[in-house]
């Protein structure tokens, strides 16, 4: 059992490395595409492909290694200069990269592999490779292998058993490891598994040479095996499996139809007489051949079978859950923990023998403790931080593909790729970003002729920029396209009844309407965008991460989408506020300002709503006490007193009335959902210094739930907010 786990772990490493390799290939190919036919670039691509092939072969992912082999052949021609890369070649190679990525993802999740797609790509590449003799053989071999794979897979189905047996040969393999084979790290089990991936395998252990227990050296291999392998594979393929142990064993491979020849094929050394006798005396019936018991542990075999039986239940795709951490970060942590231990022992002294003279020392110790704790916290957070480049890297490809499809010329600029983000945030921001980029390409940047007519350069510029601003990470998607057609949006919104016919909205307000579900300005629905389901999802995802998104746009000049995200999900810079007897926390991120309430500036609007007159604007006022209904007396009291925390939510400002401002501090966000349930208007809870629990206000949600419930009838702005 533990064996399987190990294998899974190793496979995971293989996948991780291979995905990296694929990224390298993709980046390289895109560079080639831009006419950069540097030999170094080609070598990079080739090397990446080669490592994937090698790894896949070792771990028994034959689909991948065989496919990569074909790709490698093509790359080799490019590398050696016998072939000039064309656009089509690159397109084909990019497609191959995609196919490999899909296949690996499928294998990783133990899902079906799309063998047909692979086969068609393989044929395409073979066609490109031309009819050169040396390639031909490779192709044939590959196709043969593919065919053998197919028939192998079908073997799972009972009705095919007969046909399957006809096409296979029964090989007998005598495998006698030398005593010291195990010491070189070779594991016969691995070999058997690999053999099993070639066909049905029956293993018989020969224990004759096993010494009596007292004489048994645990590190020696006393066993030898007789293997019956029913397969279509050639002798060479079987030999390949034993490649690594050739020097350390006696091996005989016998083909039943041709026993004499096989006996000649004794490898390395002669086989012992006894074993020979055993073979001779044991005729084997092929239909008795059974797969070995450890079938279950053999990933490649199981997966191949799954490939054909579509009905097999798919395991749920798992998200990768490991991170690579640089050794420096770990060392820094270790140092800090060491310091903490020292400080702790220093403080412990005071517990045992305390006198008032040591008060200063105690104070120093506590300061030290505080410092180390904070550093430790920062360092631990740092471990979860990854550069955003891993996310940005997919965009050159995306932009290349989409702009090609749309017939637009786009230059992609990336900056701030080294900005670090929390791993969770990074994972979740990927899809929204892709969406925004697609939108910019589809709606924003115009086709070359339109651009020229508008007096702009033919090539549009899409700029992705990430940087840190205070406690936030800002990601900006900027294009110099057409900008948002505010009239069109407004008309659409009026159409759908989101905005009243008489209502006048500011441009920014209108722009933010694009985040409303069901609103798309693209008249034609394409596979890229236009269904109007995108932007609201984008906004929701970003909101879920505790961030916000804004759009600024100018007709004919371009649009800028700004995403603001908290540095990390686990810690929040919060303003503690008191309201009645309770303490709440408002994220500093959302607070615009805080003002003392001047009674003259508070106005009641008919219907129970209240607004505050601030610098010429009337902003709605929400009393925390009223909404949370926990202390009615207090809410009466602070009608004209207290503090107004002005927060911004979805581009609109809202004042939250509280009794008192307390500290500002970093708080650790704890989930309410774990043991209770998600609450509207609350994003979680935290534990304060005194051990009590304080609730964290989810400002956008809070405002939303207030607006939709309280001002429902009185404000025409409800949908816009």
């Amino acid at each position: 059992m533990s064996m399987d786990l190990d294998l899974d772990e190793i496979n995971e490493i293989f996948f991780e490395e291979s995905f990296e390799g694929l990224d390298v290939m993709e980046t390289g190919l895109l560079n080639l595409d831009q006419g950069d036919a540097d030999s170094e670039v080609i070598n990079d691509i080739f090397r990446a492909a080669h490592s994937i092939k090698g790894g896949a072969g070792t771990f028994g992912f034959m689909e991948i290694s065989e496919f990569t082999h074909v790709v490698e052949t093509l790359l080799d021609e490019v590398r050696s200069g016998t072939r000039q890369v064309s656009k089509d070649d690159i397109q084909l190679l990019l497609k191959s990269v995609d196919y490999l990525r899909d296949t690996m993802t499928a294998l990783q999740n133990k899902q079906d592999v799309d063998a047909e797609a692979g086969e068609s790509l393989r044929q395409q590449i073979s066609a490109v490779l031309g009819n050169g003799g040396q390639d031909d053989s490779t192709d044939k071999k590959n196709i043969d292998e593919a065919a053998s794979e197919d028939s192998k897979s079908e073997a799972g189905a009972e009705d095919n058993v007969d046909k399957f047996l006809e096409s296979q040969k029964l090989w007998t393999i005598i495998f006698e490891p030398h005593l010291n084979m195990l010491q070189s790290g070779n594991d016969p089990l691995r070999i058997f598994r690999e053999l099993e991936s070639l066909g049905d395998l029956e293993v018989e252990a020969l224990t004759e040479s096993l010494p009596v227990f007292e004489k048994l050296e645990p590190q020696n291999c006393y066993l030898s095996w007789k293997l019956y392998l029913c397969t279509e594979a050639t002798r060479d393929e079987i030999l390949e499996v034993f490649d690594w142990v050739m020097e350390e064993c006696d091996l005989e491979i016998i083909e039943p139809e041709n026993t004499t020849e096989a006996t000649d094929e004794v490898l390395e050394e002669e086989i012992s007489k006894e074993t020979e006798n055993i073979i001779a005396n044991k005729p084997i019936q092929s239909n008795e051949t059974q797969p070995t018991k450890n079938n279950e542990s053999n990933n490649s075999t199981t997966e191949k079978k799954v490939t054909k039986s579509k009905a097999a239940p798919k395991p749920v795709a798992k998200e990768s859950s490991s991170i690579r951490v640089s050794i420096e970060k770990v060392d820094a942590l270790l140092d800090l923990v060491g310091e903490l231990v020292i400080t702790q022992s220093m403080l412990k002294r005071f517990g045992n023998e305390y006198d008032s003279d040591s008060l200063k020392e105690l104070g120093d110790g506590l300061t030290q403790l505080e410092r180390y704790t904070r550093e430790l916290q920062e360092n631990v957070m740092d471990i979860r931080m990854l550069p955003i480049s891993s996310n940005f890297n997919r965009f050159p490809r995306l932009v290349h593909d989409i702009s090609g499809k749309l017939g637009k010329k786009v230059e992609l600029k990336l900056s701030g790729e080294h900005t670090e983000l929390d791993k969770t945030v990074l994972e979740k921001i990927g899809d929204p970003l892709v969406h925004l980029v697609r939108n910019s390409l589809d709606h924003g940047i115009e086709t070359p002729d339109v651009r020229v007519a508008a007096g702009k350069p033919e090539t549009g510029v899409l700029h992705l920029n990430a940087f840190q601003e205070g406690g936030n990470i800002v990601i900006r998607v900027e294009d110099d396209g057409a900008g948002i057609n505010t009239e069109k949006i407004l008309a659409k919104a009026r159409d759908k009844g989101l905005v009243g016919p008489e209502e006048n909205l500011s441009d920014d307000r209108i722009n933010n309407l694009i985040f409303h579900p069901g609103l798309s300005t693209n008249d034609e629905v394409s596979d890229l965008s236009g269904r109007g389901v995108g932007m609201d999802v984008v906004r929701r995802n970003i909101k879920d991460l505790g961030g916000r998104v804004e759009i600024h746009s100018e007709r004919g000049v371009g649009s800028v989408l700004t995403i603001r995200l908290p540095l990390t999900l686990a810690i929040l810079d919060g303003q503690l506020v008191r309201c009645g007897k309770e303490t709440y926390i408002i994220s500093l991120l959302s607070i615009v300002e805080t003002v003392m309430v001047n009674a003259d500036q508070v106005n009641d609007v008919a219907g129970g709503a209240r607004v505050y007159h601030m610098r010429g604007n009337y902003i709605p006022v929400i009393s925390l006490n009223n909404v949370f209904k926990h202390d009615h007396n207090a809410s009466v009291k602070n009608k004209n007193s207290g503090l107004l925390v002005v927060v911004e939510s979805d581009g609109a400002q809202v004042g939250i009335l509280v009794d008192e401002l307390l500290d500002q501090q970093q708080v650790v966000i704890k989930s309410l959902e774990d043991n209770f349930k998600q609450m509207d208007g609350l994003s979680g809870a935290t534990i304060l210094g005194d051990g009590t629990v304080a609730l964290i206000l989810d400002v956008p949600g809070f405002v939303q739930s207030f607006l939709s419930s309280e001002i429902h009838k009185t404000s025409p702005h409800k949908h816009a907010a």
Partner: protein
């Protein structure tokens, strides 16, 4: 640990037809929950109220770094409320459903005993018709000549119950 308790533990090894229950007092009646679902018993501490929740949800507390909701069982059963006294305790239980485990604290008047009850000695809850909900009562048993109402904790604090409470709530629509 007294002898009867030690005996109980010993019995556990060869008696699989019985279960242990922790009992607690609530308005003069003794209720029992399966001891395996009990995470701990602790004194009453101040809770942080959660706005717009039914009144039997007193709020949340910090239980070793986790945020745990506290339910007042008297209010839940619509019994007369009494001020919390020195014996008032919070029984922390683990509620299991298909998706997840949740930890919830329930406030009771006081803990009483640990009983081992044979499954055959547990009677099904009598039918009261529609008037009284009995789905969260596992059964009735007698120990030391007293009646013990055994609660099915997973049903009592199932999340339908909490959802149900929310659906009546206007602000959270």
């Amino acid at each position: 640990m007294n002898t009867s308790e030690a005996q109980l533990i010993e019995e556990e090894h060869f008696n699989t037809d019985s279960e242990q229950f922790l009992t607690f007092m609530l308005a003069g009646e003794e209720y029992g929950v399966e001891i395996l679902s009990v995470q701990g018993v602790q004194g009453w501490s101040k809770t942080t109220p959660i706005p717009n929740t039914p009144d039997y949800i007193l709020g949340v507390i910090n239980l070793r770094g986790a945020i745990v909701p506290i339910i007042d069982l008297r209010k839940r059963f619509e019994l007369e409320a009494i001020p919390y006294g020195s014996t008032t305790v919070v029984v922390v239980v683990k509620v299991t459903n298909e998706e997840s485990d949740r930890t919830v604290g329930i406030v009771v008047d006081g803990v009483s005993e640990v009983y081992r009850l044979d499954n055959k000695d547990i009677q099904a809850a009598p039918e009261f018709g529609d008037a009284v909900k009995t789905e969260y009562i596992k059964g009735l048993a007698t120990a030391d000549e007293k009646m013990i109402i055994l609660l099915e904790i997973n049903k009592l604090i199932s999340f339908d119950v909490i959802e149900e409470a929310f659906s009546n709530d206007e602000v959270n629509t």
